[in-house]
């Protein structure tokens, strides 16, 4: 009898996938570009000129690096507020070690990456082993680095040789090398998430630590790896800034506001702030939206305070859109005026509930009720 009742269940049609978050980001990006292009056209400027495209892409690269790392950390339900200080520290270490001599470049890059990795390791250990909330843990390590910077540096320091400055200054056509590097790192991060066990476990730990643990996952490891990679990507941003400035600066990170902006870009890209869902490409989309909005407002010579207002509105609106999409888990079964209550139900009227139960047509129901 069990077989009889199980057998006639029809093959369920492939469920309609919910609109992918990164797709929405893409649509929003296109919309922002169209609006921006129209606005610039009204003052006789071409949004798509090579120079303007280069400006936008240049604007993306530094925040892009930081946001890639931030995505990994947020996916495992942590947060990194120490990134602006890591950015500043990296620029200083790089410029000091290089000291204007191209021969020192490899050593400088290596030291910067190792120092960043150690900071990330500390963050990861504090979050996963000492169970300190990521917000607080990285606020603490950030302040420690800030104290070190404030004590030891009064202003810019070191000198970056021309060879290294080229990274921030050259491009392939209208595309800056720095943006290409950033996109390459994004590709690596996306592959890491999709194709490595650690990547999968970052999602698992962020989604539900208890479930991850009961599935035999050592839950500390993905968190530590994510924090190390986050600090390293912030260090890459610091190296890029040093290359652009030609010197190291103790305030370049905080001036950029990379802590909150990177978090905003990640959330704008559809990643859940509580972890477990999201993607690198969504984040890149979020970064691009910020870059386009900034660019359009700069060209229009909008008051800089209004810029922040617009950024704020974009962030809040984006999250409100995602949240509203999460609420409609239950799809309405009946329209505003109920189902058609006339004698003859129109076929395919209001009864498509998507549950695909057998023998479920509107006429069936009428007969039951009769």
């Amino acid at each position: 009898m069990s077989a009889a009742s199980a057998a006639p269940r029809p093959a369920r049609p492939r469920r309609r996938r919910r609109l992918d978050a990164s797709l929405i980001v893409g649509i929003a990006l296109v919309a922002v570009i169209v609006i921006g292009a129209v606005l610039l056209a009204t003052i006789g400027r071409n949004f798509f000129s090579a120079g303007n495209i280069r400006d936008i892409l240049t604007g993306m690269s530094v925040l892009g690096f930081v946001a890639i790392g931030q995505t990994l950390v947020i996916l495992c339900a942590s947060l990194d507020l120490s990134v602006p200080y890591v950015v500043s520290l990296s620029s200083l270490i790089a410029a000091d070690i290089m000291a204007g001599n191209p021969a020192n470049i490899p050593m400088a890059v290596l030291v910067v990456l190792v120092v960043a990795a150690l900071i990330g390791l500390a963050n990861g250990l504090i979050v996963s082993k000492l169970k300190v909330n990521g917000f607080i843990a990285t606020l603490g390590t950030g302040l420690i680095i800030k104290g070190y910077l404030d004590t030891n540096y009064q202003g810019t320091s070191g000198s970056v040789p021309w060879d290294f400055q080229l990274i921030g200054a050259t491009g392939v056509g209208p595309i800056p090398v720095s943006t290409l590097l950033m996109l390459f790192v994004a590709l690596l991060a996306a592959l890491f998430l999709a194709r490595t066990r650690t990547g999968h476990r970052i999602y698992a730990v962020g989604g539900d630590e208890q479930v991850a643990r009961l599935s035999g996952i050592r839950t500390a490891r993905p968190v530590i790896v994510a924090h190390v990679l986050c600090s390293i990507s912030a260090a890459l941003a610091g190296l890029l800034l040093a290359s652009r400035l030609g010197v190291g600066s103790p305030t370049v990170g905080t001036q950029g506001g990379y802590d909150l902006l990177s978090i905003a870009a990640v959330v704008l890209g559809g990643t859940l702030l509580m972890g477990g869902r999201g993607s690198i490409w969504g984040t890149i989309g979020g970064v691009a939206i910020f870059a386009v909005v900034d660019n359009v407002m700069s060209v229009l010579q909008v008051n800089p305070f209004l810029k922040d207002v617009v950024r704020g509105v974009v962030i809040v609106a984006a999250v409100a859109v995602y949240t509203s999409r999460q609420v409609d888990r239950r799809r309405p079964r009946f329209g505003p005026r109920g189902s058609v209550s006339q004698a003859t139900d129109a076929p395919g009227g209001s009864d498509s509930t998507g549950t695909g139960r057998p023998g479920e047509t509107s006429s069936d129901r009428e007969e039951v009720r009769a």
């Binding site: 069990s2 077989a3 199980a6 698992a204």
Partner: protein
Amino acid sequence: MSDQTNPGASGATGTATAEPVLVASGLEKSFFGVTVLRGVGLELRAGEVHGLVGENGAGKSTFMKILAGVYERDAGTVRLGGADVDFHHPVEAAQAGLATVFQEFNLLPERSVAENVFLGREPRKGGFVDRKGMVRRTRELLDELGIDFIDADAPVRSLTVAEQQIVEIVKGLSTDARVIQMDEPTAALADHEVELLYSIIRRLQERGVAILYVSHRLREIFDLCDTITVLKDGALVSTDPAADLDTDELVRRMVGRPIEAYYPDAEPGTELGEPRLELRGAGNDYVDAVDLEVRAGEIVGIAGLQGSGRTELVEAVFGVAPFTRGSMRLDGREVRVTGARQAVRAGLALITEDRKAQGLALNQSIADNALLVIRSVFSRRTGAVRRELPGVLTSLEVASQGVDQEVQYLSGGNQQKVVLAKWLATKPRVVLLDEPTRGIDVGAKVAVYRLMRRLAKEGVAILMISSELPEVIGMSDRILVMHDGRASAELPARSDEATILAAATGTLRVGGTDVADLGGAS
């Protein structure tokens, strides 16, 4: 990966005559000086479904968790396939061929079915996760169970509870389990979904898998199990072939005394009064054209499949997702309830289906929980209710260490009683109960039933949703059956299961064969 080499798979006779796959003996366990398991043992054979029953607190879950490696045992031995084993983690047990489907799902809603099945042991190819292979293998496992309606690529969030349950089972199978333990696998399922689980269990049985099955639903135990072991107060009462037992005998062994009136009759002096709750053509986005009347002193049962709009109906009455069409009257007065606060003031109480998520603040005390609604809506009465609280808890037979104990340490049945105490304090005139006895033991169930009868006698109108048909039939003065968002039938008290099921599945019209099939299956 040991594949198909285990003895169970080859001897797929379905009869339980082979050597035992698993032998547990003399298992003991105590927590903080309290002994919860004293010398319990049992044997599982290939192809056998072994029922494990007992009241909450009898030690069933502890027993399973020791086998699964969640808890360390204090004493005793476990032999799996002839070798002594001592697992320290559920994953270790699963890899050795002993999988457990826990009551709480261990799934990540945002990840796909395949990613969940292979969580923590993702297959790799050339150093990278083999996503295609993962999906392919998951499909094969689903096919083996005859499941063709779950997409291995779909996110788990998009699945029904029953489908998620199947994913849990597939997870167990993916490690080539010879023994699968299931803790209350049907607690969240509606009757037709239970049938699906039955067919899966029978398939596993044919493949020679031994199944340890824990359930509070005795009908399932008799439907499925070859052997039944009864635990009481952490000790073994008996192990017998199911054929030698009947429900009354089983209940007697579980509680140590016969429950003469499992579903108590109406208390003498209960009278049907004026209609307290009336719905006329009421509807919103989720339910439509509902006509319903519940009178003072009346218990109306709502039957229907999961997703048929039962919960949505009571939520609409309570103003969670208010009615947008038709009329609703309380005590003859037309009302428009648009929020929970207003509902409470109007004399409504809603005991929700998911008490842990919606009914209780688990890390707060019994008193804080019981006073929650009173404090926020009728704050002036807080003091009086607080003084009465110990008496109320005693009358509900809540077993606790006092009103300051955190509710997370109570058993499911006692937690539910705290939820009831919380709502009784508001002196409701209409009580809406959504699955009031889900996952609680027999003793607590009877306490809930008695309470319902007592409230009815006091003139309260009661609307009760239940997925357990015997409960609907045993308690209701009238039965409303929901199907696809509408009331498909209103049936008198003591209607038979076949009629209710037919109305619930929308096959009432067929009459002959379909109804007979459904009836026979239940």
